[in-house]
């Protein structure tokens, strides 16, 4: 008699537990909307003064002449989509909102620094000074895909306008996407990668609280410090080649 009740209770417990877990999994993996990244499914192209809306296509996007000041402008390179949402001038800065897809499930993907994200006018270049995340409304920070993987982000970026910089023939270019250096790199793996490339570089990792980074302990004489650092950063971080270039009109 009692055994029957125990069996029923056990079955109920298992069913409730499994259902609870299933609901949790479905909730965790719910599709994230792309509301923060208004990735238009068409792109505006301009040829001989005519404008039309066409379906998104990688070749078309890369060959298209986008009308200036019509946003978003979408560029796809190596199957990675980068989108320029808007451009404006405010307080001595030219600022732009840029969204991009992550090449892999790593929250550290970024637009890089002033040597990689630039504003040019055909005469001079200005490197980016500030980058500020535009949080995804679903996750509160990065865009996630329907499997819960980090899939992209949007940023508000600022270029300080110097005196005499002409606001014409403007182009915003992103040389590559890069991951930021990790807080706690796996030093053994980094050293193994350096060794496999026969770089001759030996590293020492920061271990004291409040410090971060990898120090070059030994390097070949023929390498100067800057060259050795570049080799180390290439091993320490990931990158995805561009460029993604956006011609923009005067805001």
């Amino acid at each position: 008699m009692f055994r029957k009740y125990i069996d029923i209770a056990l079955v109920m417990f298992l069913i409730v537990g499994a259902l609870g877990l299933a609901v949790g999994v479905v909730f965790t993996n719910r599709p994230a909307t792309v509301a923060a990244m208004p990735a238009g499914q068409s792109v505006t192209v301009q040829v001989d003064g005519f404008q039309s809306h066409l379906p998104l296509n990688s070749d078309m996007l890369n060959n298209a002449v986008s009308p200036k000041n019509v946003y978003p402008i979408v560029k796809i390179k190596n199957e990675i989509r980068v989108e320029l949402l808007s451009v404006q001038i405010d307080g001595g800065f030219l600022s732009a909102d840029i969204c991009f897809d992550f090449p892999s499930d790593d929250p550290a993907w970024s637009l890089g620094g002033p040597d990689n994200l630039k504003l040019s006018n055909g005469v001079a270049e200005i490197g980016v000074y500030s980058i500020e995340m535009i949080p995804d409304p679903q996750s509160g920070f990065l865009k996630k895909d329907d499997k819960g993987r980090f899939a992209g982000r949007c940023d508000h970026v600022g270029f300080p306008l110097s005196a005499g910089f002409a606001l014409e023939n403007l182009k915003i270019s992103i040389g590559e996407l890069v991951t930021d250096a990790p807080e706690t790199p796996d030093c053994n793996k980094v050293q193994a990668k350096l060794d496999s490339k026969s770089t001759g570089i030996k590293i020492k990792c920061a271990s004291e609280p409040g410090t971060s980074g990898v120090e070059i302990a030994v390097k070949p004489k023929e390498l100067d410090t800057v060259q050795a650092q570049k080799i180390l950063m290439d091993v320490l971080t990931e990158s995805a080649d561009g460029p993604w270039e956006f011609e923009v009109g005067t805001p």
């Binding site: 069996d7 069913i15 299933a22 620094g113 949080p135 409040g210 120090e215």
Partner: protein, 155 residues
């Protein structure tokens, strides 16, 4: 035995459901602290630094200053990296400002740090990536820096 058999079938089915769900769950990075229990601790020593994204970044001369966010601990901290293009070493400071007492965490390097080396402040639980009033400040210099630093700061 006849009573036990259905139970076993259900048990095995339930275990299958549970086991098959694991590959689809998000990867969780283990951390040794959570919530406000992370306050004042370093991300690198708590596992919070294993999954990080930059919320705000500025690029003052020869450096970069990041407001970093842990995607597994929901904490923020400041990080200042020597990015001198000529390979020079500098003193550095990283200061995290936040609205509640003690209002900041600040770390200055004891000596000059090499290119791509960084100083990192203690972390503070924020719960969200972009809380208003939080910012990272810092810079690099040829002279020792005493914190906290109030400028330059992230937007």
């Amino acid at each position: 035995m006849q009573k036990v058999k259905p139970v076993l079938v259900i048990l095995i089915t339930a275990m299958f459901v549970i086991a098959s769900s694991f590959p689809f769950t998000s990867v969780a990075f283990a951390a040794t602290c959570s919530g406000s229990g992370c306050n004042g601790l370093f991300a690198s020593s708590t596992g919070c630094g294993n999954s990080v994204t930059n919320v705000q970044t500025i690029f003052p001369a020869s450096s970069r200053v990041d407001l970093r966010f842990s995607t597994n601990c929901y904490t923020l901290w400041a990080k200042t990296t020597n990015k001198d293009s000529q390979g020079r070493s500098f003193y550095a400071n990283a200061t995290l400002w936040f609205p509640t007492s003690p209002s900041y965490y600040s770390v200055s390097s004891g000596g000059k740090i090499a290119v791509n080396q960084a100083v990192v402040s203690q972390q503070r639980y924020s719960g969200i990536a972009n809380p208003p009033g939080w910012k990272a400040c810092g810079y690099v210099s040829g002279s020792p820096i005493s914190g906290p630093v109030g400028s330059p700061c992230t937007p």
